[in-house]
Amino acid sequence: MNFTLKIWRQENAKAKGRFETYKVENISSDCSFLEMLDILNESLISNKIAHPVCFDNDCREGICGMCGLYINGRPHGNDDGVTTCQLHMRKFKDGETIWIEPWRAKAFPVIRDLVVDRTAYDKIIQAGGYVSVSTGGVPDANSILVSKDKADKAMDAAECIGCGACVAACKNASAMLFVSAKVSHLALLPQGKVEAANRVQKMVEKMDELGFGNCTNTYACEAECPKLIKRSNIARLNREWICARVGKEK
């Protein structure tokens, strides 16, 4: 397969970026999107055409959340429930022009080319996205009972890999789906419930502070999340917030 690529190039955080056009030829339809970019980079290097295109990636199996490109108007490209590393070139038409952009959000500044700085997500987690107990030995399996329904919902929420596609997709660059997933998977379980009220307030306040937008319930996040995190988590986040605020002691 052959493609024309329009790729955002930007030397550093301060530089003014631009789109560059590259052609790639003889790409296997089984190639992943990142492998296709590897092939492009090899040719850029060996033919001394340009500095290779920088992009983030690590596991390449859809679990680390490092990869993330805005491809033809959709985060992680034109497939549902996959990360960019799992996107295959057979999802594109032969000869297609593909626009590749970095995540765009004030809270995710571009570092270089297609790489953005997602420290903001780490800061939200640091603000309260954890359970502060000292881990001892493994407790007896049935000492804390969890209903199947809650366990399932918590596991679904815990699938979030922190890739940032929700922010990238949202017209408001809101991080509500991410924060709601993190708040939910802890609040649904007995161990996390203890600190739930404090956690939700700290994480939301941090989210606001970092310059993410406000959710207006358009659900672009849900449509683009590679882990299919549901909007019901955002409603749960809102409920947790209301309960925490109403019950807040002065």
Partner: protein, 294 residues
């Protein structure tokens, strides 16, 4: 605009509560409008307007309503500005993510609703405030039996009026009589002679301060306004924008308040559509009726 003291979710919850209140108000307002379609020469409609114009509970709610509307606009515009700022560099490619058109255009449909409200206030509400001239109506018994006029009449029959008072009383009586004659000859009486209606500003000027209970005649104002096709079409277009705003608004408010449940989501979505469409059709009924059937 900056509202940093209130957290994003709290602001959203405020917008949702206020928005739901506005939604209920729209239903009441629509109900009153529909009275206008009853072929009773505006009897029910006038009773409703009279109630809304004079009841004290309603007067309190009027203030609450304005506060709610202003709060809604200020908060949503501030949120929207923040949201634009949250993505300083836009994407080159337009978004292809699956979302509803209504949810993405709230600020624009909201803006059109604002245009509508501004137009609507100039056309109707400002008449009530006396800022704009419209049409007026008077309850016939008020025209005749204003307490001041009665007192003067008593004094007159007992010969207690000074010559100056006599002169003013006479001109006042003439003004009232002039009004009655006009009403008689132009058929402005309605509802078993209970009301004199469809009076212009010039008609009521001579009796102002003499008779009590001069009220805006919204019934005839509506007929005059929507007799003008340009106005009718503008109103109808703005009702479409209102429908768009409300289709997303209702379900969004539920989500914002945390009311999301697999079992009821479809119902909430459907309810939101039905409510919005009923409101828009209900409002559109009046101009459509006047445009095509009068």
């Amino acid at each position: 605009m900056n509202l940093p003291k209130i957290a994003s979710i709290s602001r959203k919850i405020l917008v949702a509560c206020v928005g739901l209140f506005l939604l209920v108000f729209l239903l009441v307002h629509m109900g009153i409008n529909l009275c206008l379609l009853r072929p009773d020469d505006g009897e029910w409609y006038s009773i409703a307007c009279n109630f809304m114009g004079t009841n004290y509970i309603i007067k309190v709610f009027e203030v609450v309503l304005f506060a709610a509307l202003i709060a809604h606009i200020i908060i949503t515009v501030a949120l929207q500005i923040q949201n634009w700022k949250a993505r300083p560099v836009r994407y080159h490619q337009p978004s292809k993510s699956k979302t509803s058109a209504m949810s993405k255009t709230m600020i624009w449909t909201g803006g059109l609703v604002f245009v509508f409200l501004a137009l609507h206030f100039v056309n109707f509400y400002f008449v009530k405030l006396g800022l704009v001239e419209g049409k007026y109506m008077i309850q016939t018994e008020h025209a005749l039996s204003s307490s001041e006029l009665q007192a003067k009449y008593m004094a007159y029959t007992q010969g207690k009026l000074s010559p100056e008072e006599m002169a003013t009383f006479q001109t006042e009586m003439e003004a009232v009589q002039g009004l009655m004659i006009k009403a008689e000859s132009e058929g402005l009486y309605s509802d078993d002679m209970k009301w004199i209606r469809n009076l212009s500003a010039e008609d009521v000027k001579p009796v102002e301060g003499i008779v009590e209970g001069i009220e805006p005649d919204f019934y005839n104002m509506a007929f005059e306004l929507f007799g003008n096709k340009v106005y009718s079409v503008i109103y109808l277009i703005l009702f479409v924008a209102l429908a768009f705003h409300l289709i997303h608004a209702m379900q969004s408010a539920f989500q914002t308040l945390g009311l999301n449940h697999n079992k009821y989501n479809k119902f909430i979505e459907g309810f939101s559509w039905v409510y919005a469409i009923i409101i828009a059709l209900g409002f559109a009924a009046v101009p459509v009726y006047i445009m095509f059937f009068v």
